[in-house]
């Protein structure tokens, strides 16, 4: 096996959604820059949208919503813990990004007059733009990458970032998951776009790869950012999703809601008035499952035949097209049966909740020259459109950074240390199989971290994760593919420890089920109206509070508590009436 060293200006790690956009925008900002897009799989079909996407979940389109309204909605949905400047940057760039994607050939739903056909799914405003033909989005992105002459390498797994003596970014290290070759990529600026930590909890099916997120997204970026000294934020605000039971993919209420589908309990009754995913919504979902009125279902069987056919066409050709095959196997026909839903295992993902690498409104992290975008970057609820917007912002900011910074010298010691760590499992002929270590680690994540969060359980979890740290040095890999899985286990273990430490630090409850602490069941704004940051200090994980920047969009009391009132309470009809105006 060989070691390859190359030098570029901007290195983008992750070729899914945010990454290609960042690479294109860095190159467009300055075509003289060498921009390399490094991908663990193949850019043509990688990441969360490998099979396309059925809609934009957070589009701010003039005439339907304003950036200010969107900032209020997300501030409320995320229980106040947001840096509004980052959410505002997303909102303000939202419409221009939709128009640009439209020009590139992404097909959005339009009405008979040619306007975008917006739908209401959120609690307060209207932000959903369907893409019934969104299965081609990766092809559109790929064409754009080729046109702007971005360099692409596939099947390289990034494992650690390179830093300079002053703590700024200097590149990254990776290995080839087919040959095992070690790669050093020196760069002036780096954009991390490696997606969610989607292989954290163990799915109820027991199948390691039966996750909501593309399982390629194993939390590599969270681990890399942490080891490079970047601040992470909101890690305790877990991702837990309402998914098709066993299949573990979305049903998907955002698509079906505007057509008249809704979530019910086992009596066929609605119990939540809004299907937009939030911690508060998941808490009601959890209560229904636990309270004897579960299972929870997605109800479509009351809809007209043509409506159901339309829903089937969208759901069975986009995002997770194997949904249709799953339903067929179970004998579930939307016309006759409701779809059994369940609550997912935990993950970290700012696309849906808030856990991520801390960024400012340009996607810049706390490590100079290192940017982050997409599910990995802490911009709450930023979804696919937010990944594109922050990809653009991070790409452009990286290009600007290159103009004023020289390439830092290469630190040979960092390279040697990492090459030894990466190649070690290949040198062990008599070790633990990576899959077995991963299974045990993720089962422990379920046992000790799945909400409701119990202090004593999380403390035991930390002990177990320390024990598994020792197992990392006992794993063996028989080939470069198994080596990829082994190195992913390192990242998953880091994410598990981060999830436990950040959760223990915030001694209150917030975000509904995402951070429901049994020992601290109330929210406590006096002490905890702050971001919880996590950072590597003296070689260990350290948590601290970061004050919330003054809001740029004020919320009134009614708006602040809107997401606390999602449950439909039949005993109090006057309360239900009160909610009707939402």
């Amino acid at each position: 096996m060989e070691t390859h060293i190359q030098t570029v200006d901007v290195l983008v790690i992750g070729g899914g959604t945010a990454g290609p956009m960042a690479a294109v925008k860095a190159k467009e900002a300055n075509p003289a820059l060498r921009v390399l897009l490094l991908e663990k799989a193949n850019v043509k079909r990688s990441g969360a949208i490998s099979m396309g996407m059925d809609g934009l979940n957070n589009a701010v389109v003039p005439g339907f919503a304003t950036p200010e309204q969107y900032v209020k909605e997300i501030t409320t949905a995320n229980d106040g813990i947001v840096n509004q400047k980052t959410v505002m940057a997303n909102a303000q760039n939202s419409y221009a990004m939709i128009e640009e994607l439209n020009d590139w050939g992404v097909r959005f739903e339009k009405d008979e007059t040619g306007d975008y056909a917006m739908r209401k799914v959120h609690h307060m405003g209207t932000y959903v733009l369907p893409m019934p033909e969104g299965h081609d989005i990766k092809k559109v992105l790929y064409r754009r990458l080729k046109r702007t002459r971005v360099e692409i390498t596939n099947r390289l797994v990034a494992t650690r970032l390179l830093t300079a003596a002053d703590g700024s970014i200097a590149g990254a290290m990776a290995f080839d998951c087919r040959s095992g070759d070690f790669h050093v990529i020196r760069a002036k600026a780096v954009v991390l776009a490696t997606g969610a930590a989607g292989r954290l909890g163990l799915p109820a099916s027991g199948y390691l790869f039966g996750t909501y997120e593309n399982p390629t997204n194993a939390g590599d970026g969270y681990s890399m950012a942490y080891h490079a000294g970047a601040e992470l934020s909101g890690i305790e605000c877990f991702q837990i999703n309402p998914l098709i039971k066993d299949y573990n993919g979305p049903a998907c209420a955002y698509v079906t809601g505007p057509f008249g589908g809704y979530t019910t309990n086992n009596k066929g009754e609605r119990f939540i008035e809004c299907d937009y995913w939030s911690g508060q919504m998941m808490m009601e979902f959890y209560r229904e499952l636990q309270g004897g009125d579960g299972p929870v279902f997605l109800k479509l069987d009351h809809l007209a035949e043509e409506t159901i056919s339309t829903i089937e066409t969208i759901l069975h050709t986009n995002e997770r097209p194997s949904r249709g095959r799953f339903h067929e196997g179970r004998g579930t026909d939307y016309r006759e049966q409701m779809v059994e839903m369940h609550i997912s295992e935990i993950g970290l993902c700012s696309g849906h909740s808030a856990s991520g690498v801390w960024v400012d409104e340009n996607g810049q992290t706390t490590v100079p020259g290192l940017h982050a975008a997409g599910d990995l970057a802490c911009v709450p609820h930023n979804y696919m459109l937010g990944a594109f917007v922050y990809g653009k912002l991070a790409g452009e900011s990286s290009a600007r950074y290159c103009a004023s910074h020289e390439l830092p010298p290469l630190d040979e010691a960092q390279v040697e240390l990492e090459r030894q760590r990466v190649w070690a499992p290949l040198g062990r002929s008599d070790g633990l199989p990576p899959g077995q270590v991963e299974y045990k680690l993720r089962r422990m994540v379920n046992d000790y971290l799945q909400p409701p969060k119990v202090t004593r359980k999380m403390e035991i979890g930390l002990q177990r994760f320390e024990e598994i740290r020792k197992d990392l040095d006992r794993m063996s890999a028989r080939n470069a593919h198994e080596l990829m899985r082994a190195m992913e286990v390192h990242a998953i273990r880091d994410c598990a420890e981060m999830a436990a430490r950040a959760s223990l630090f915030r001694t209150e409850s917030r975000w509904g089920l995402y951070h429901y602490r049994v020992d601290h069941p109330q929210s406590n704004d006096a002490d905890w109206f702050v971001h919880v940051q996590l950072q590597k200090k003296d070689g260990a994980m350290s948590c601290f509070k970061r004050p919330i920047e003054p809001y740029i969009v004020a919320l009134d009391e009614e708006e602040k508590t809107a997401y606390q009132r999602l449950r439909i309470n039949k005993e109090e009809p006057q309360h239900a009436n009160h909610l009707a105006h939402h």
Partner: protein, 77 residues
Amino acid sequence: MPITSHITSVPVSVDEDKCIAHKGCTVCVDVCPLDVLAIDFIKGKAYMQFDECWYCMPCEKDCPTGAIHVDIPYLLR
């Protein structure tokens, strides 16, 4: 450390009459996000080498001859 290997049913099947890997086609191997497909060079056919499937279906959709079928993994079915 003593180890063993266990048999597992894998979700991706390849119709070897249709598969043209022997002509140099590697589309399914190329597009798989998890890199679990491989070419058996003796047979000249694609097969699923690792049971690490997201049942996402690019392999099936992008196969030029319709040789690939993705099932839901047995544990989830």
